[in-house]
Amino acid sequence: MMKLFFALCFSFFANTVSAQDLAPDVQVKKITDEVIEIIKQDKDIQAGNRKKIDQLVDVKVLPHFNFSRMTALAMGRNWPKANAEQQKVLTAEFRTLLVHTYSGALSTYKNEVIEFRPLRAAAGDTDVMVRTQIKRPGTEPISIDYSMEKMPAGWKVYDVVVGGVSLVTNYRETFNAEIRDGGMDGLIKSLAGKNRSLELQASSKSK
């Protein structure tokens, strides 16, 4: 059931061009609707076709995320300790890991309704939280909140909080521990290893 929530974490960002001028909550809604529409119509995605899901995420969702900010947020005080090259690699690996998690969720959407809660923001704000809810039978609605910041290219997401759990900062203690034990390169190695094993798993499943 909750993979749906992960799915919806993504599902909102389907717009690419005209999103720049939209209010952040309007933008999220527009993109959510677009992605849901695609999922509903595409039997391959519903069946878990990895290639098609990746493509959908690539085109519709990823342009609306700020992955370097996400990585910095997950790293916390360790971020400035990484050199430029390490930061680049860390961002790439963390991005791969997050995208895998989210993509795996997209095929599970089943007509659940997403409600948008009123945006609490002043006119000039450049950093807002867009709050949404998904209704489920027999349990309280689950919240999915998106922290977004205004950038030259429009609003970008830098944190996704599902049911009160940040999918970004939830990694911070793990990252701290990895860095303490194996240094910055140890963390990079762990992330790369994780991504490789996920890739192997996915490719063996699709055959």
């Binding site: 059931m1 909750m2 993979k3 749906l4 992960f6 700020n66 370097s68 900010r69 990585t71 910095a72 947020l73 916390g76 005080r77 971020w79 400035p80 300790k81 050199n83 430029a84 390490q86 930061q87 895998h100 998690t101 795996g104 969720a105 599970t108 704000d125 450049t126 950093d127 939280m129 209704k135 039978p137 027999g138 349990t139 309280e140 609605p141 919240s143 909140d145 922290s147 910041e149 205004k150 030259p152 944190d159 009160g164 759990v165 940040s166 999918l167 900062t169 939830n170 990694y171 911070r172 203690e173 793990t174 990252f175 701290n176 521990a177 990895e178 762990s190 992330l191 994780k194 996920l198």
Partner: protein
């Protein structure tokens, strides 16, 4: 993930769990002084789950049609609404509590013994409350993170609440016929686990360290629940300066990344060029942030970090201040 199994075997002794905590590891997460014991118990629970509960849940999901499973979930959820209502009232949320009792009345009758969740469609929203949250609302800190046998992730506060109080509020424990009672409890465990099959798989895939991922998600989740989904920014340097609500964040957002250089409103550099080494004190600026960090160190092993006390005038503060930053500062005052 065994979170949902917490109600299962409600009479297990938490004293045993806490008492085993002697093997704390050094240098780990400050919220987890019992990490050595916790990791062992987590491994044990994973083993039980893999060998018994997960296979049962998978089979159940395969055999039962979806509408039937929803009915089972609704049935148990309906029984839970009474205890949820009591806890809402204990927390002073009388309106929410009344709504929970209303849900129970509607779903037990029109909803055919709770099989259909009519109340949700009628606008009575389901809530999530338990006695651990009530204590948190009253100002009790969570204490150390504790993995309970079978029941899974918990904390000193939540574990004691669960084992000493919550099960008294669970109607299933009052079923007189013991075999029937046990069957019902077993069914609830399996149904809950079936609902979580996808989540647990995804958490496993997402995690670098499964144990730490589940722990940190649990702690974040509980903190959010105590504030009913609207927690103030966390009293922790990284989170405070980067979470979505503080003014500082807004200032930083204007000076967009590359994140190697971010400057606060006051022009102080809180993250510098990548190749520059900073002392921890330089990394984060602002007295409030620093004192929060110092407080965190001082609290140390007790692990009383995650729940800043909710001031008794919480609602008034919220109404007056209109923003959560001010509230956070108030609630952090020693």
């Amino acid at each position: 993930m065994t979170i949902i199994l917490r109600r299962f075997l409600g009479s297990l002794s938490v004293a045993a769990a806490v008492g085993l905590g002697g093997c704390a590891t050094l240098g780990g997460s400050p919220n987890d002084p019992l990490e050595g014991y916790n990791r062992a118990m987590f491994g044990f629970n994973e083993g039980v789950d893999k060998a018994i509960i997960k296979p049962l849940a998978s089979g159940y999901k395969t055999v039962m049609p979806e509408f039937a499973r929803t009915g089972v979930t609704n049935f148990f959820a309906n029984l839970g609404d009474l205890w949820i209502g009591i806890n809402n009232i204990l927390q002073g949320k009388v309106g929410a509590g009344a709504s929970d009792f209303g849900r129970f009345a509607i779903n037990s009758t029109i909803g055919v013994l709770g099989l259909f969740d009519i109340a949700s469609n009628a606008g009575f929203e389901k809530h999530n409350e338990d006695f651990g949250q009530t204590l948190g609302r009253w100002g009790a800190a969570s204490g150390a993170y504790v993995v309970l046998p079978i029941l899974g992730p918990s904390s000193v506060r939540d574990g004691l609440s669960l084992l000493a109080v919550d099960w008294h509020g669970d109607p299933l424990w009052y079923v007189g016929n013991i075999p029937t009672r046990n069957e019902l409890i077993g069914l609830r465990v399996v149904d809950n686990r079936a609902n979580l099959l996808d989540v647990s798989r995804m958490a496993e895939e997402a995690a670098l360290d499964h144990y730490a991922y589940v722990r940190d998600a649990y702690l974040q989740r509980r903190r959010s629940l105590i504030y009913d989904g609207d927690p103030p920014p966390e009293p922790e340097p990284g989170k405070t300066s980067e979470s979505g609500d503080s003014k500082e964040t807004a200032a930083r957002a204007r000076t967009e990344l590359p994140p190697a250089q971010i400057i606060t409103e006051r022009g102080e550099r809180i993250i510098t060029a990548a190749d520059e080494e900073l002392t921890p004190a330089q990394e984060f600026s602002g007295a409030s942030v620093r004192s929060a960090a110092a407080g965190r160190e001082a609290v140390g092993v007790i692990g009383a970090i995650y729940e800043p006390r909710i001031p008794s005038n919480y609602d008034a503060l919220l109404a007056v201040s209109g923003n959560r930053t001010a509230l956070a500062q108030t609630s952090l005052r020693p």
